[in-house]
Structure formats: C-alpha cells, structure tokens
C-alpha cells in the first residue's frame, strides 16, 4: 500500500537515482524532484566529494537509501564494518526506509560484487529472514528487500520465486521493494507468467517500486538499466500499482546515462498510471 510500516508511513511519489553524471546539473539547477535514491555504498566513505555532494542534496531533497552489498542471502555472517558504516549513513540521511536485494554475493569473506539468485528453499528463507531481522534491529530503520533479476535457477529450489519472496518477508516482517522490470526479466529467462508473480506477493508489504530498462539477447534478457522502460514493463507497472496503490516509484538508469531531463521525463511517465489510480478511487467514492 502507498503508506505502510515498511516505508515509514510515507507518501513519496516519483523519484530518480542520484548518479554522478547528473551532479552538476542537479546542484546548479535544483530541478523539482520528489526524492532521490542513493546507492548506500557510494556514500559509506570517510570524506571527500561524495559526502559534499550528499550534504548539498540533503539540503534540498528527500533521500532514500538503496544498498547493493548487504547480501541478506549469503551464508556468511554480516560484515560488521559494513553494517556500522551503513548505520552511520542511515542516521546522517534520515532515510525513512532502507532497501537492499534479496540475493547473495559473498562467500567466506570474498565478494562477487554481483546480485546472485537465491535457492528457493524453506531453510534458506529462514536463514535470510533471520539476517533481515538482525540488520533491521541494528540499523533501526524499516527494510524493504528487492527481488533481483536472474539468469539461473537451482535444482534444490522447493518453490517459485514469488513464494520464496513472500516466505522471507512474512518471516522477517519486512517490506518489499518490488522491481517490476526484474520480474519481467526473470519471467522471460525462466518461462513464467510475470502476472502470476505480481498477483501473488503480499501487496500490503510493498513499500517501494522500481522500474528500469533492460537488454534483449538471443537467448536471454539482461537487466542492464541502460534503456527507457519498455512497454511490457509499463503494463506490469500499471497492474502493480492497481494492486499495491500509489507506491513510491523509482526509475533506475545506470549505464549509458542520458541527460537529467531525459531520465526525469522517463520517470514521470509513471504519473499517467498513478493518476489513473487516483481517478478511479475518486470515482468509486
């Protein structure tokens, strides 16, 4: 739902990811943007330009943190230094909620720097939920976990991805960052109906939505974040907000990044679907 415990009962609109090529434009022109999503790890540093930029952004805008390296699904215990720095940043930005991925990516203290898919088993769900609870208790901020796009499935899996996601978030009592593009990418790579996914996750736990572009190859689709959002993803987005309500939405564009205006205009296309929700809810009153 739009405002819920998992996004700290906020009503955020359309946001975009804060990216280096846009710093100068944003700081000079101060465009009207509802909120920015920052990559936590880029600002978990001790000083210098990243923190200077962050300070200036925080003076003008609302910021939500999105991480890429907690690795809730890794069998490893948490990297305590990582969590300590993350908590320092959470206090600094006052992010109303924090997101990271439902994935693994490190083994025995060695990092792949990738978002690797989980084996969908009940044991792994328990382990992952426990780690999410541990992180939330330490960080003292609501957590939303994001479904990743994937290119492989495991023999050991005992359930579908959406059943696994539901199992984890129910056990962890956390939110979902529903990445609609990732669902589409995975549905094409693994031959499932993306609407089955959208229809069967706990909508009341969706605290944020991601949309993005992807790249098609001959035999699979890659989640490259280097294109505008494609039509099937917009259709899924419309369906998602019908189910979840006008949830905070962010456009990811991380490679071949065009001008700020182009990225922002692409993100604002989401408003046409959000306006439909408002219109239909007023009609029903």
């Amino acid at each position: 739902m739009p405002a819920n415990p998992f996004n700290a009962h906020t009503e955020y609109g359309i946001g975009i990811g804060l990216r280096v090529p846009h710093y100068r434009h944003i700081l000079a022109n101060k465009p009207v943007v509802d909120w920015f999503e920052i990559i936590s790890e880029n600002f978990m540093v001790d000083g210098g330009r990243p923190l200077e930029v962050l300070d200036q952004i925080l003076e003008q805008y609302r910021v939500v943190q999105h991480g890429v390296a907690i690795y809730f699904g890794s069998a490893d215990k948490f990297d305590r230094e990582h969590l300590r720095r993350l908590k320092r940043l959470v206090k600094y930005t006052q992010t109303p909620w924090l997101s990271d991925h439902l994935c693994w990516g490190s083994v025995d203290g060695r990092y792949t720097h990738d978002l690797l898919p989980m084996p969908y088993t009940f044991a792994v769900a328990r382990h992952t939920a426990q780690k999410i609870r541990e992180a939330r208790d330490y960080l003292e901020v609501p957590i939303c976990v994001e479904n990743v796009s994937s290119y492989a499935e495991y023999h050991v899996s005992e359930m579908t991805e959406w059943e696994f996601l539901s199992e984890v978030v129910e056990q962890a009592d956390c939110g979902i960052l529903l990445d609609v593009n990732n669902i589409y990418v995975s549905s094409q790579n693994h031959n499932f109906d993306p609407y089955d996914y959208l229809n069967n996750v706990p909508h009341s736990r969706v605290g944020q939505i991601h949309i993005a572009g992807h790249s098609k190859f001959e035999k699979y689709i890659l989640d490259t974040h280097d294109h505008p959002v494609l039509e099937p993803v917009w259709k899924m987005y419309a369906h998602a907000i019908n189910l979840c309500g006008n949830t905070a939405t962010l456009l990811e564009w991380d490679d071949r990044i065009p001008s700020f205006e182009e990225v922002h205009n692409e993100a604002l296309k989401a408003n046409q679907f959000r306006d439909n929700i408002v219109a239909s809810s007023q009609t029903n009153k």
Binding site: G47, R110, H113, T224
Partner: protein
C-alpha cells in the same frame, strides 16, 4: 552451493571471454554446472553459469580499468588485462566496496615483477600514485590544526599529524605529468547499482601512444582541496620534512633532518621553510596526531 558457485565465478574467463571448459578437478564444466543449476529450453546449465562468470569478470576488470588508467598506459592493454586477471585471481575482493579492489596491487606487482617487465619501476610508481588518488578522493579528514592550537607548544615538542587522505610519495618517474596526459575521467564514483555488465572492458580506454616518461626523481603530494583531487610537486627537503612529521618526529627534528640532508648551497632556510609551511597549512594538511 554458494562456495561452488562463487568458486566458478572467480575462475578467469578464456581468451575469448568464455567460461573455462573444465572444472578444478578436470571434470567437464557442463557436468559441474549441471549439479546445481537447472538448464532451460534455450540455455544449458553451463550457459547460465557462464552469464554470471562473465559478469563477474567484466565488472571487476572494468573497475581496474577505471582506477588504473596510468598502469594500463604503462604496460599496454594486452598486458594490463593479463596482469589484472592474475591479480584478481590471486587476490579476490575482500571488501563490500569496489573502491578497495586495487589495495593489494602494489604488493602483487612487487611479488611478481614479470607482469610489468621491462617497466617494473615505472609501473610500481604508477600504482602507488593511482592508489594515493583513491585515498585522496574519499579518505577521512581530521580537524585542521590552527595557530591557536600550536601557540603554546615549542618546536622541539610539537608533533604534527598529516591528514589521512594525504599521501607523500618519492617516485623514480614523473608519473604525474604522464598520467595527466592519459587520464580523462579521474573524478568519478564507482559502479552505481545493480545493473548487469553486458560487455567486456573496452579497448577504447587505452591511451593513445604517449611516450613513457624517462627516470626523474619526483616528490609528490597527492591530496584534495575543496574536495577536488590534486597532485603537488614537493621540494626534496619539503618531502623530508613531511615524511618525518608523518613518522612522528617533532617539528624541529623534521626541519633539522631536511637541512642536514639538503644539497642546496646557502639557502635562506627560514624563509623557505616558512613558505612551505604557510602553503601546506593553507591546504589544510596538518592535523593533531
């Protein structure tokens, strides 16, 4: 299972950017991959694991290309790719951030000099210089000392600290001038988010044929000011003073060392040292120890 999959990702790609065909124990990789990864109607287990294997290497090689353009220009792209692959195979990332990916590169090149022959000394200088830039970009800063902080401490008791983000280097080559000629995008953050890597690091990043520098002892400070990255040439005596302060010498002892080791004839030491300290203090280099 996570160990098995990560082990597969950490293994280098072939020269054609494909996954190796055999696993560590000699089994076909297809057989190994099929033990834990399902095939689908378009891709075998091998194909699916290969997507992740490629993305891992494209991502981390891309990071080294970004952070070490000077080293790349010294050894050439073909050799850079070989040494980067060997380095990342020996030293897998042990940090949540790609910022630290090159933190053992100097040690690696010292231990395995054949990767940079016949330019080993230049390559080592360049790696030290480029790592110093990583530190200067986002390293910690301590409160700057002010004249009021120092007023009651005599020079023979005064010990100044240097900012943690500041590196003082003595190099055998003028790598600063060389890097300026080859580096175009010095000041950027690392990989942004969760996007997949769909291509290998590209050759267009290699510098054009800039002549390698001739040996010339070079004293450099790598620092930041107003959060911009700078390299500053130092006088030999200035380098001695800063090194001594960093090692814990008193202000007086550091200056005495510099004067005693200097080859200058009849300089006005008082004026010189005052000028240097005024400049360094204005740049905010001094902090409490």
């Amino acid at each position: 299972m996570q160990r098995a999959m990560a082990g597969a990702l950490f293994r280098p790609l072939t020269n054609d950017w494909n996954m190796q065909s055999k696993w560590n124990d000699g089994r076909p990789m297809e057989q190994f991959a099929a033990e834990f990864i399902k095939p689908n109607d378009r891709l075998s287990s091998f194909d699916r694991l290969e997507i992740y294997n490629r993305q891992y290497w494209f991502r981390i090689l891309d990071c080294l290309y970004d952070d070490y353009p000077g080293l790349l220009a010294v050894v050439g792209e073909e050799q850079f790719l070989k040494l980067a692959t060997a380095y990342l195979t020996k030293y897998q990332s042990d940090s949540y951030t790609l910022r630290n990916l090159g933190d053992r590169l100097e040690k690696f090149l010292l231990d395995e000099p054949h990767w940079t022959e016949p330019h080993q000394a230049l390559a080592i200088d360049m790696v030290r210089f480029e790592w110093a830039q990583v530190v200067a970009f986002d390293g910690p800063a301590k409160p700057v000392v002010t004249p009021d902080d120092l007023i009651d401490t005599p020079p023979d008791k005064l010990r100044l600290g240097l900012q943690p983000y500041l590196s003082i280097l003595k190099l055998d080559y003028p790598v600063d001038d060389f890097l300026i000629a080859v580096k175009k995008d010095a000041d950027s953050l690392r990989g942004e988010a969760s996007n997949a890597m769909n291509s290998a690091p590209s050759a267009h990043r290699e510098s054009t044929q800039i002549p390698l520098p001739q040996p010339e002892v070079t004293y450099l400070a790598v620092h930041r000011f107003d959060n911009m990255l700078y390299f500053k040439r130092l006088e030999p005596e200035g380098h001695i003073i800063l090194e001594a302060l960093a090692a814990g010498s008193t202000l007086e002892a550091a200056c005495v060392q510099a004067v005693e080791r200097s080859t200058r004839t009849n300089p006005d030491w008082q004026a010189l040292i005052k000028e240097w300290f005024d400049n360094w203090a204005a740049l905010g280099w001094f902090c409490r120890r």
